[in-house]
Amino acid sequence: MGCGSSFPDRDSRQFGRPNTENGGGQDARNLRVKLVLLGDSGVGKSCIVLRFVRGQFDATSKVTVGASFLSQTIALQDSTTVKFEIWDTAGQERYAALAPLYYRGAAVAVIVYDITSPESFSKAQYWVKELQKHGSPDIVMALVGNKADLQEKREVAVQDGTDYAEKNGMFFIETSAKTADNINELFEDIVDYATSKLHHDVLAA
């Protein structure tokens, strides 16, 4: 965490609008979900978001600075619309101390690692522990193994991801932002998962 002390306000104010606390919308047919992506730099957080929000994939990925804010509305099969307000955070070490700014008040935390990088899997576990310690107890966590298209370079077994997610009560999926594999599923399923997991009054009115 290096220079954590150089970041002020790390544990003070609430981030986000009061009425979207925990991401709860007022109407079961119109949900608003505040979602934050966390994970090591270079695992593809921005690529996942851009694939989901804009349907694009840019191989010349750009390093995220601070955090980017994007939103996307999807319709579920039961005609519920879900508006995702997404914080795509920077993976660099210097921003780690700022993460509470973005994950506080989030209903869903998506923790991403790269299946070709064991280091990024360890970093994902760091984020899980951080959220268990400092995050809202109601936060729904998803573990995502990205770059699933790079099978030949895989260094983190699917089973390792599944096991870790199960042990920590997390939703798990492997995705590829490059091929778009499981990207929409990630966001759709996370809502299902959250609705079934959470108390009725948190996500749905």
Partner: protein, 547 residues
Amino acid sequence: MSEMSSSEHDSESSILLHLPPLSQSLFDAEPSDLQQPNGSAARPSSDPSSPTSSGYAPERGSSTATSVSHVEEVLSNEIQEITIHDPQPLSHSSWLPGKRHGDEDDASISWRKRKKHFFVLSHSGKPIYSRYGDEHKLAGFSATLQAIISFVENGGDHVKLVRAGKHQVVFLVKGPIYLVCISCTEEPYESLRGQLEIIHGQMIVILTKSVNRCFEKNPKFDMTPLLGGTDIVFSSLIHSFSWNPATFLHAYTCLPLAYATRQAAGAILQDVADSGVLFAILMCRHKVISLVGAQKASLHPDDMLLLANFVMSSESFRTSEAFSPVCLPRYNALAFLYAYIHFFDDDTYLMLLTTSSDSFYHLKDCRIGIEAVLLKSNVLSEAQRSLLDGGMRVEDLPPLPRSGSSHLGQHRVPSDSPERSREPDCGVGGAAGLWHFIYRSIYLDQYISSEFSSPINTPKQQKRLYRGYQKLFASMHDKGIGPHKTQFRRDENYVLLCWVTQDFELYAAFDPLADKALAIKTCNRVCQWVKDVENEIFLLGASPFSW
């Protein structure tokens, strides 16, 4: 304070004696890196085991696309040829952002041949940043630099400059952080030291000065992970030393706009500033459209330069709105501010700075309000038009005496008009062989630079001219032998004329055959012209700038 060489002032005095022609090497253009034969050698991508590497071949995390750059390097000569008439004065097509030559180290011949190195290291000798080559492979070299600095410091002194043949080694010590430039570009010591100061400022923008505390806790602290992914910010800054006069003038420049358009932008920014925003800045590339500060808050031009470079070089800001901590070193080097950043289009962007880390949604609402007004008042389209039209052109310089009001571009004279043919030595460029000028208003801390005219239209020529201006700036501001009021210097490339008064500084470049008396007369015309159009080229009144 001691200098390890006394020859530094010799080179300065040769300027002030006004003895043309100066030696050719003084203005030798620095050959572009792209032309280095070794630069195009195939090289491996960054370390694949690095956690920042993405695993996909064409995207190499912080070290940028190496395979792509190889192709573009080969093509770069052709690209430069084609872009001679590019409306942008400096074609960026030949410059690739991010670290290049990442595989080199101090044993590589190609690395040793680079004309200008920048290094940042810690007081324990650990590498922090190197313009060329992999920092980690340069540990031994960093240790050597550290040894030189501490050897002199142990003697109760400070090393500022070492000369070794054509090379200058410039040192700057900033607490536990050491910055070193090794250059054979013949730039004055003051310019190089100023560039090191700016690099240090950029580091503070990213980390604040409280990073120094990490070294107090652990002298062997490794700072490189904290700067992960910022190579592109520093390479873009270093690149700007050769094209952006703000890096040595310590002033900012505005996008030329009709007075009413800029007023409209300023008014809405003022509304936002009144609602608890510290600084509201609307910019188009590196030029200011308008900016407003909360009461008593003042913004230094150097902070603006660093902020604009940070935002412009970080591609992710263009993808979506963002909220990021930034530090303004001249405002408060110890604390972060929070910046809301939004690009309205490829060029025009808004930065709203606040001290409060939880104001994202408020700032987002502010931006929505601002955007509505900017669209309604056509500010964004006017900005685009101004970019296309460009600013002041030496060819449009109106004749003296002036009467009535004047507007940019109003005086464009057809090349066959009798008025133009009266001017002797007109040739290319403007009147009396005027090729280019920079006018810096001391009171406003703003400058205006003319568009480059046809004799100076390649990036290489422009870089050479800026180096000439930098030399002038350094010699005019030399505390030991200055200050000076005017300087007229002729060499085989051009005549450079500098005129410093209490209100402004004028730097002008003329045809090398230009007549001195006529050149001086032309400078008067330029000053009058700038005054005539100051409404459009400067941000006037209610300036939050004070220092």
